[in-house]
């Protein structure tokens, strides 16, 4: 998805329509600001949270957990792929396990995670690893299977070692699948993280963006709550469009692999 002036204009128009409807609805139905705060008070809450550095600090903390979770999850997925490539039985067992665990929301595991890993940072990382590992593994396997037999023959013709084949042919050929897997992994880990932080998170020093939402809720700061929701939406969409967009443009788009 490219950001053209046209798409930017469309985005701005949609935003404007939402603001008009929001404020119009508030005025027409005389809604209490405790239920629907004014756009201006939401923006001023957002400004305060940004200026104090609070929300940035919490975002940084959230991202450090996601980074750790995706790192561990991706490492494990590659390891599992390699093991699966060595033996058909292992691959089949893993496929069955994945079909059971892939649909399980990370947050459903929370009570068990508390029992096994306690209530610290570790527990949230474990939940993120869970939400990252299965979609990545499934995509990696699909990508690996999709490597055309011709490529295998080419590799054999060039007398490439298995490692060299994996690094120079199989890996680049699998990039679209890896990226698709990472996209799902990111979306799932972002959701899992925020749910987990809203259920348990430490105040201030160790809190993330989900914790920010939770404290606004308990102290009934509705404008702050909407400011937090805005941040969650903007960050999610920025990573999706800007980060993944950039990576795709500089890899598979450039290589002409994006169908």
């Amino acid at each position: 998805m490219k950001t053209t002036p046209r798409s930017f204009l469309r985005f701005a128009l949609v935003l404007l329509a939402i603001v008009i409807l929001w404020e119009g609805g508030r005025a027409v139905f005389n809604v209490s600001p405790l239920v629907m705060p004014g756009v201006l008070s939401v923006l001023s809450s957002l400004g305060t949270a940004l200026a104090s550095g609070e929300i940035l600090h919490q975002l940084a903390f959230s991202f450090s957990l996601i980074g750790m979770g995706i790192g561990i999850g991706a490492g494990l997925a590659v390891l599992a792929l390699i093991i699966g490539a060595q033996s058909r039985v292992a691959a089949e067992v893993m496929g069955t396990v994945a079909s059971l665990f892939h649909p399980l929301p990370g947050i459903a595991l929370l009570p068990v995670v508390i029992l096994w890993f306690g209530v610290g940072k570790m527990a949230i990382v474990v939940i993120i690893v869970h939400s990252v590992f299965w979609p990545l593994l499934t995509n990696l396997q699909a990508g690996y299977r999709s490597v055309s037999p011709t490529y295998h023959l080419v590799g054999r013709n060039l007398e490439m070692s298995p490692t060299s084949f994996a690094v120079r042919i199989a890996a680049p050929a699998t990039v679209p699948y890896i990226l698709a897997g990472l996209r799902i992994a990111w979306a799932r880990s972002w959701r899992a993280l925020i749910s987990a932080e809203m259920i348990f998170g430490a105040v201030a020093a160790h809190g993330g963006i989900g914790w920010f939402l939770h404290t606004r809720r308990v102290f009934m700061d509705t404008a702050g709550l909407f400011a937090g929701i805005l941040v969650v939406m903007l960050v999610g969409s920025l990573v999706e469009r800007v980060v993944f967009g950039f990576v795709e443009r500089s890899t598979i788009d450039r290589w002409g692999m994006n169908g």
Binding site: V14, G25, V31, M36, P111, V119, F200, V218
Partner: protein, 337 residues
């Protein structure tokens, strides 16, 4: 994209969708007084929210015995179980709830933000305690920044009590704020007793009993010590404007009488009532008897400590509205006497 929707159609779709969303949202708030005062007929329904815990036992008795329904012929009573005071507050703002029960601090936070809800009765006083499994922790002073303290949520009565104790001992109400962990009581108990990273848990009954009965646990602070006296743990709150008209007042009055009857039944240890409660809380009858015999667990409509909570929460900066007056926070000042 293989299938392309014409641009004009797409923009229209987005517009209509946003309109629907906005209207759905605002629709909730329009029902703030679903039982508009029109006739002298009784309200068709009344919706009451309770939470889980031994402190809510009289409500459980009113519900299971149908005590309120018997006093309000023609009115349907809807009982709702909610997980925390924030959910109750939100349900009331959405106009989906008439009466809720909660701790005093979450009530004050709502009032501070301009919610015109009022306390109409007290429900219980209860033994609260900060319980630890760490033998090296014998008092608040032994808690280091690495220790984690579990409580239901910031702004809860447990959090305010901890702040009060920490203000008194260390001159700093926020001393422990960076090491709090918000967990529902059952999860907190599991985490504490399984050694899963929780050093101490600020518990209420029945968890306080269960935790103290476990091996190697001790209380390092009681609610009473923290508060510096007696205080009401749970109060009954009427949603904004509820109770201003005769119909709402009739409901609150009936509920008050029903609660008094339930409290008397518990006080007399009525065997059917005790057996019912034991079933609800999942403990043997004998255990429930012991729980109820605790002299600090008292069911009464009298409210204590509302003024003091108002004072300290203002001092600590949790309340900022200088216009809050005790007499505006209760439906009738009788409950304060």
């Amino acid at each position: 994209m293989p299938f392309k929707i014409p641009n004009r159609l797409r923009t229209g779709g987005v517009f209509v969708l946003s309109l629907v969303i906005a209207l759905t949202l605002t629709d909730c708030s329009r029902r703030e007084s679903p039982n508009a005062p029109s006739a002298d007929a009784p309200l068709s329904t009344v919706r009451i929210a309770e939470q889980f815990g031994l402190a809510y036992a009289p409500l459980a008795v009113v519900r299971s015995r149908g005590l309120l329904e018997a006093r309000l012929p023609g009115t349907e009573v809807e009982w709702i179980q909610l997980g925390n005071a924030s959910a109750i507050r939100e349900a009331m703002l959405a106009g989906r709830l008439d009466i809720g029960f909660m701790g005093i601090p979450p009530f004050l936070i709502g009032a501070d933000k301009g919610m015109r809800w009022r306390v109409f009765t007290g429900l219980s006083r209860a033994p609260l305690a900060l319980i630890t499994t760490d033998p090296a922790v014998r008092s608040l002073a032994d808690l280091t920044p690495e220790h984690r303290i579990a409580l239901p949520q910031p702004g809860s009565i447990q959090h305010i009590l901890l702040s009060m104790a920490s203000q008194r001992e260390f001159g700093d109400p926020n001393r422990f704020d960076n090491q709090l962990l918000t967990l529902a009581h059952p999860d907190a108990m599991t985490a504490l007793l399984s050694g899963a990273g929780v050093t101490a848990h600020f518990a209420s009954p029945p968890y306080v009993y269960e935790e103290l009965a476990a091996d190697g646990t001790q209380s390092i602070l009681s609610g009473r010590e923290a508060f510096g006296g007696l205080f009401t743990f749970i109060v009954g709150v009427a949603s904004p404007d509820f109770g201003d008209d005769t119909r709402g007042r009739a409901v609150l009055q009936a509920l008050g009488v029903s609660l008094a009857e339930a409290m008397a039944l518990i006080q007399q240890r009525d065997s059917t009532v005790v057996a019912e409660l034991a079933g609800q809380y999942g403990v043997p009858v004998g255990t429930l008897q012991i729980y109820l015999d605790n002299p600090e667990l008292i069911y009464t409509s009298r409210i204590e400590g509302l003024g003091r909570f108002l004072e300290v929460m203002t001092e600590f900066g949790y309340l900022t509205n200088q216009g809050l007056r005790l007499e505006n926070l209760v439906l009738s000042e009788e409950v304060l006497r």
